[in-house]
Symmetry: D2
Subunit: 342 residues, 4 copies
């Protein structure tokens, strides 16, 4: 029988709530609903245990993880499953580099550290990575802060023979995935894009921050993304992917400039749901109109947890087989894997 994976998490927000509750649900039900890959390296979804959690909120520190995940501003729903007390009290997270040793000590016994805090604090992210390296633990960075694509950090993991995965998690299913799939389909079928827009509405703290600080790098990054470049299927690669063919598809199709992203809307009542309205106007044969309107509703934290569950198993599997550094298997799960611009 395979040894269970012991995971520590940084950040006790909605994404951690979705992960922790989902693990309980799948273990109880044995269901594979919504699971992209039932087995990775011999590890099933139910083979994961969260054994430590770090947070900075005073309310959460000291509370059992299974209680802390329901404290505000978290608003991911309670899933339909029993959630037995984890016996994992939330630990005080690190505030500066002097605490690396304390965190490393707290990681004893863990195999993987999943960094799932809000983006925007690169020093903190790298300090946790350092703690993981010191403790001999694999590290996963889901934020947009540069860690795996920081050459210095990556080589320190390679030297230590420890896996390092990142950066910037690509959701399992969301607006960009659907929008890009439709724009690609149009191009592939020879339609000409006239215009397209995307409106995203949500009720989490992430949304509130993005709406209230619309000019931050976050927003511009988000916009870039939503303009058509999910990590695993970059719109800009399309012509290349299709290949340069004499009789081939017209080359000027993807037309990224014609896709507009409206400001994000923070609507508290949506809670952890994200609602997107997409419109695509195009032209087919004879320049006749093709029109497509779409409404998509998802739970944002589920989209993160559904990818984290794969990353944890990729990392544990690499650790156990002694493969340090970055795993190519994870590339499609990040927006900014090593090699992309910092």
């Amino acid at each position: 029988m395979i040894e269970r994976v012991r995971v520590a998490v940084v950040g006790v927000g909605n994404n951690t709530s979705a992960l922790v509750q989902g693990l309980a649900l799948y273990r109880q039900s044995g269901s594979l609903v919504g699971i992209r890959r039932p087995m990775i390296g011999g590890l099933g979804v139910g083979d994961i245990d969260v054994v430590a959690a770090f947070a900075t909120s005073e309310e959460k520190i000291g509370r059992d993880l299974t209680e802390a995940i329901f404290l505000p501003p978290n608003n991911f729903p309670r899933l339909h499953c029993e959630l037995p007390r984890a016996g994992v009290p939330v630990t005080k997270g690190l505030v500066d580099k002097t605490e690396v040793e304390r965190v490393a000590a707290a990681l004893a016994g863990a195999e993987v550290l999943l960094y799932s805090a809000p983006s925007g604090r690169p020093e903190t992210a790298r300090a946790y990575a350092e703690a993981a390296r010191v403790a001999g633990v694999a590290f996963i960075n889901t934020t947009s802060d540069p860690v795996a694509r920081d050459r210095h950090v990556l080589s320190s993991f390679e030297v230590a023979g420890l896996p390092l995965l990142g950066d910037d998690l690509a959701s399992q299913f969301g607006t960009s995935v659907v929008h890009n799939a439709l724009l690609r389909l149009l191009a592939e079928r020879g339609l000409t894009l006239v215009s397209s827009y995307q409106v995203n509405l949500g009720g989490t703290e992430d949304f509130r921050n993005l709406v209230e600080n619309p000019n931050t790098k976050k927003q511009s990054k988000l916009n870039a993304l939503t303009h058509g470049h999910p990590a695993d299927q970059p719109a800009t690669d399309q012509p290349a992917a299709d290949g340069p063919a004499a009789d081939g598809p017209a080359a000027d199709r993807p037309a990224v400039g014609r896709v507009e992203v409206a400001p994000l809307g923070y609507l508290p009542h949506l809670r952890s749901q994200k609602v997107a309205h997409l419109n695509i106007e195009a032209q087919g044969w004879g320049e006749t109109a093709v029109s497509l309107d779409l409404k998509l509703t998802v739970h944002d934290p589920s989209g993160a947890a559904g990818v984290n569950i794969d990353l944890i198993r990729i990392a544990a599997s690499a650790l156990r087989s002694g493969r340090g550094g970055y795993s190519a298997e994870a590339t499609s799960l990040f927006k900014s894997p090593p090699g992309t611009a910092v």
Copy 2:
């Protein structure tokens, strides 16, 4: 300079209207809007001339093709272009096999015969194919009647060194294409389908016939199609295409049985537009809900003409280079290519 392709058409309905008007529009504008493949075998969209047309409606016979395409029940719109008189009077179509010689004689000078009449008259379809063979002309069957997948007919074209393409045109862009792309995307991302429906509304004679004769083979064929099997990307092939992998995607995803197609609605005011409402309900991580609603509006005849323009060039190109029989290049453009069930 390349020699222009001389095409004869059977059927002067909406699809022929879209083809004839589109040819004029693109020749005048030089535009590539809505064109899937600008060049095929060195032939551009503007290198096609319609030189003969056959119809059975008394009103259309004898009228210039550029007038006949606007007679009721045709309701494809007038495109924004000049439409100079073609100098091509509509010829009386054949009613039985005794007229094969007459039609063959009328095909003198043509390279390609595009059979674009309503489906449901297999004898007539094969008689036109016979006329094409006698006249030394390539044949394209866009109807669901078995011609290219009739072994006897296909071998007679192979022997004669003449191209034969068919059967049952797959639209350039329509409900099935979009519905299947989204269902595939869901499966690929690991979501579990809960339910899905599709409602199609249209205002052409085709729609009226399908609505008034809901139990015909046509309807059931259509339903089968819309349940998720466009010719070029059959839903049932998905698991195989993804490959059998130990750690791979869950195998039970496509869930065709969960996709329902509502009865077609004939709404005359839509004219040649087709409107589809799609809904997809799925589950992601933690069995949380993912919901997608889509409205798609297209011009049905444009979807046919946008594929016919490729088929004509594939057929002409094959004829000119002496490649008789079926062209694999056309396979993705038909729902029932040779080898599929009759």
Copy 3:
């Protein structure tokens, strides 16, 4: 303290399930959510008891009402409330007029008989009305069969001093209500209707019957209704209601002929939900386009129960104060009240 109303119901389908479960829910919660009129004649929603139920299905007869409402083909969901056993076994319904006396005897102690069986059996409907009259009980006919608008039946209730309400229940909220409100709004604001369509999808036995028998009177009735004439706000009354004014609104607006209703779609997975897709195309100043697309999802049986709860209280209130015959207060709750065509 007011005396509770004792109600008998004919028909143990989805509508009765919604009524019985809703009564339990509101009694437990004291909530007023979804309640149109908290009090009628001093009677609250919680003041109703179902004390007898008649059905013809062998599976339901003899079962406790609180079990029978969940037997197939019923598919209204279980509401979020406790449902204590009613102690009301389902009684065999009447098949012909010879059983009127038996049913009348079974009504002893009831004040109101709610006739909530499927439409299409006028003899049966009138036999139950006769049983109610014999038993001294008020009668409510929710079907489209003529009972309250049958002069003979109505006068027999008037003579007996018993209330008789009917015919053909108008749902609390559904496609027609929304479609008509929007068409009226357009006309009121001076927009000109170009076209409009409505597609209804559902998963109940009612939908299956209507889809499988599209040429029955039911279907044509439904169509007539959905063309814009809910009982309480008939589209054809609009010009009259607005009044003939010299400088008033243009008279030719409502344009019922431009509203099309697509065939109903039976989609079993929707269960008791009804989904409607509406489209309205109009023109404003300068003949510029106004376009409106709407998707509406409701639970059909809730729309019926939300009106039945008012009818029961109107009937009980009239009975207690000795007002026999029809109550004008009920007029807006029926599509075919007395005085409309049979």
Copy 4:
């Protein structure tokens, strides 16, 4: 035969483009499409002439009105009609109060001055009103700046026997009108509102300004409006309008606090179109879900012109019959008529 109305306009933006082009279209076609009131005070739509126009843009001043309306940033489309040169050169608008006399002189021969400049310059608005009073011309203020609801200005018009209509034009048809109609319908049918949102997207300068200055009074005013209070049918008046009745509707329905308005989105490609996405989630009988999603597309300037055409005729009619001051007939056409807060 009635004397034609001579109108001067301030502002040569999209709304004036819609007005001027629409007047030409209706005069040529005799059509009544999109016209709310064919006749007001004996005046038809075709009885209006624009005889003077004021603007501050250097590009527009001196150009014929029929050319100036197409200059950027105007982006209202060209309507399908001939637009003969007006012979009306755009006049330099006033910048400060010292120019009142010059403008008054330029108004000679006009009966009505329509103030259709951007909101936000109350001094300018009142200076034009003063010029109108001096010239003996009726004044209409379509902006949100206080003019008609400025007691001082209003009494000066009353004393002069001149009509003064304002403030803040309510569109003929737009998001608020539809959203409020649906929320009222829900309340009227007894449904309980759970949540509702509204997203507005547009491509005019107005939208750009509102998006780039989201904290201005304009935005907050707009939000207030879209939260459910169009002038003619204020949501807050609903309970009062329905009256306090013992057995009446539950009082806590309109639930304005549950309606959220997402930030406006400026999408240039929409040009003068406004697109709104509305969602309403409610509960009916048994607390079952009712869900409504709507997409609305309108031309914003048409919504303004369709009301301006009524205001011009109300003003001219009042002037001709000697009725000075405010006309109650105009009250439903403004968001802030006299008596509302400044």
